[in-house]
């Protein structure tokens, strides 16, 4: 019996010159195919081991990122990756990418649809609770506020670059969606509210201020002057300090005797709400945003409307603003609301002197509107202790954090021949490998060699 080599040799040697050349070429082709198969096997192995990714940019999109992160971390180990975001990555994805950066992978990203957005929530110093929400976003963007139960409110950003809102009963976290970016924030503190102290003469403004604040949930101490010898007291008014009072409300000059104590209280962090007639006493004027007041402009007797209630109230305009005073509200040329910082505390002064008419003679919602307005004045200056809360994971400024962790966005790099996705390449390699094997096998079989 002849060996396989002898058969191969006899198959070639038994032919004519042209046929022999063709046969030799065919054998050479078969060797070439075997070499190709071997090369493809080596390539596939290299790709599987991640050697093929070295130097090339691996790419992923928001949809494929989670899968790509696993591959990049376990088998691929690319030098460079690029992620094209069409919405902000999750906290896990963001931190994972940052970890890749820490491990030496150059991570680039792009996301033209990601708008710069930041969300902050602060508890309101108000027994009714609630939080003040501030969202920074580009002008013209639509901001949608929502919590775990669904949308709460929406607003379009005006030219100043942000929106503010009051959420009465917030859940643990709050989201602000601006286009493809969702910022999430949680309350970090709860407030320890103290009592309020109201000082004034017996009159409707004093009575209704106390009533409105009590109805709002504040615990109120009051000293109401009825005659030079008689003061009606509610609660025991002792030391005026931040351990006892969140804010002091002074309606008129009857509190002048307390001016020095109130000044110390405010400078140590307390809040003061002044009605402008109080500045008739020089010692109280020294604390106020406005050192003087104009003559009272009486209301015209028409009932305050629900839409613009304060327009129908009497005012004693605030004058003589100190340099650091901030005007919060005007009626025409008259200042009706102003504020200032004084030491560690804050002072707000109102020029509205008969706000009780708002509550009594206003529209259907007037009592609630009056309570909310007055509580807003108080909460804008009130001192409150803070108690830390357990905070769930948040992402209050997704784009800023992304830039902080990964650097600024960069356009995707395009390299000739680079950036082939191994996962996409392997099936083609397998196909080519199988094709070469079949060709080599068919060539051998058709010339009678096993």
């Amino acid at each position: 019996m002849r060996s396989r080599a002898e058969v191969r040799e006899s198959g070639v040697s038994g032919m004519g010159g042209g046929a022999r050349l063709g046969a030799r070429l065919r054998v050479a082709g078969e060797w070439a195919l075997r070499a190709l198969v071997l090369a493809l096997l080596v390539w596939s192995l290299a790709l599987a081991l991640g050697w093929g990714g070295k130097g090339a940019v691996e790419r992923a999109s928001t949809e494929t990122l989670s899968e790509a992160l696993v591959r990049w971390t376990t088998v691929a180990g690319p030098e460079r990756v690029h992620v094209a975001f069409d919405h902000a990555p999750s906290l896990v994805e963001r931190d994972w990418l940052a970890a890749l950066v820490g491990a030496g992978t150059a991570v680039g990203w792009s996301g033209p649809s990601l708008l710069p957005t930041a969300l902050a929530i602060e508890p309101r110093a108000d027994p009714a609770g609630g939080v003040e929400v501030s969202v920074a976003a580009p002008a013209g963007a639509l901001v949608v506020l929502r919590d775990t139960l669904g949308p709460l409110d929406s607003a379009r950003v005006e030219a100043l670059g942000g929106v503010r809102a009051y959420i009465p009963r917030p859940r643990a976290t709050l989201d602000a969606a601006v286009g493809a970016v969702v910022a999430r924030a949680a309350l970090a503190d709860s407030l320890e509210l103290k009592r309020l102290l109201v000082l004034g003469a017996a009159g409707w403004e004093t009575k209704f201020a106390v009533a409105a604040l009590e109805e709002r949930g504040w615990r109120v101490d009051a000293e109401v002057r009825v005659s030079p010898q008689t003061t009606v007291r509610q609660g025991s008014v002792t030391a005026i300090d931040t351990s006892r009072y969140s804010a002091v409300l002074v309606l008129d000059t009857t509190a002048a005797a307390y001016a020095e104590r109130i000044g110390r209280y405010v400078r140590s962090g307390g809040g003061l709400v002044l009605w402008s007639p109080a500045v008739d006493a020089a010692r109280l004027a020294a604390l106020a945003p406005g050192r003087g007041r104009g003559a009272v402009i009486e209301d015209e007797g028409r009932p305050p409307s629900d839409s613009a209630p304060r327009e129908a109230l009497s005012i004693a305009p605030i004058t003589g603003l100190v340099p650091d005073a901030v005007v919060l509200e005007r009626r025409g040329e008259h200042v009706t609301l102003a504020a200032r910082r004084l030491g560690a505390g804050r002072v707000v002064e109102t020029g509205y002197v008969n706000t009780w008419r708002w509550r009594m003679a206003g529209g259907e919602d007037a009592p609630e509107q009056h309570r909310t307005w007055l509580a807003g004045l108080v909460s804008s200056v009130a001192y409150a202790g803070r108690v830390g809360l357990a905070v769930p994971p948040t992402n209050p400024a997704p784009l800023a954090t992304l830039i902080d962790r990964l650097g600024p966005a960069a356009e995707e790099e395009v390299e000739a021949g680079g950036g082939l996705d191994p996962a996409a390449l392997l099936p083609w390699l397998f196909g080519a490998l199988m094709g070469a094997l079949v060709l080599e096998w068919a060539s051998r079989r058709t010339r009678g060699v096993r």
Partner: protein
């Protein structure tokens, strides 16, 4: 800041103007004993008008049956709920009389049962002190009307009621004492009186202005 204006309620039924000298006497007492800024003359205000809400203190009295109109009932309810203070005084001093029967019926129809004001309530101590509750009137002591000494006033209490705190602010005060007769004297007469009978009226006004 606005001055205190004494207002008398005009209502469609009955004789609302039956104590015309009372406002002047109470205004005089408020000005005399306190530093409250008070308008020198009182006003009368229709119970069914929006003007009512410019006067958070209103005095209502009469001898005749009281039947409020729908508009008066709506206004009265809104007035008390918003913080207004109304004194309703039975000018007959007679719990079997028509004013008492009809006025209490109207009030309780709007607000529920009138509650007795405890005699240690703030209203008896906020300016002058009345250790035994509401001071008796000469009409009671002389046996007129129902020939009874009424030891208590009654009220509709309003205000916040949270936790263990009950609604404790008086929104409507009801009296069978007939202060409308007691304080309805010619103002000059006060000079000859050994004791000023209107002192409790000062307490009512001080209470209304401070609570």
């Amino acid at each position: 800041m606005s001055k205190f204006v004494f207002a008398t309620a005009e209502y469609a039924s009955g004789d609302w103007e039956s104590a015309p000298a009372l406002p002047a006497n109470l205004i005089d007492s408020v000005a005399r004993y306190t530093s409250i800024e008070v308008a020198p003359a009182g006003v009368s205000v229709r119970l069914d008008s929006e003007e009512l809400f410019n006067y958070p203190f209103v005095w209502l009295t009469g001898h005749l049956p009281v039947r409020f109109t729908d508009a008066e009932r709506r206004n009265l309810k809104r007035y008390v709920e918003r913080g207004g203070f109304m004194v309703v005084d039975d000018h007959n001093h007679d719990i079997t009389g028509v004013f008492h029967q009809t006025a209490t019926e109207e009030i309780e129809r709007l607000f529920g049962k009138l509650e007795q004001v405890p005699n240690d309530h703030e209203i008896y101590r906020c300016f002058f002190t009345f250790e035994n509750g509401p001071p008796h009137t000469n009409h009671e002591l002389n046996g007129w009307g129902d020939d009874l000494l009424h030891p208590h006033l009654y009220a509709i209490f309003v205000g916040p009621s949270t936790g263990d705190r009950r609604r404790d602010r008086i929104g409507l005060l009801y009296s069978n004492k007939d202060y409308s007769s007691e304080w309805n004297f010619h103002p000059e007469t006060k000079r000859t009186m050994q004791q000023d009978p209107t002192k409790f009226g000062v307490n009512l006004i001080v209470y209304a202005l401070t609570r």
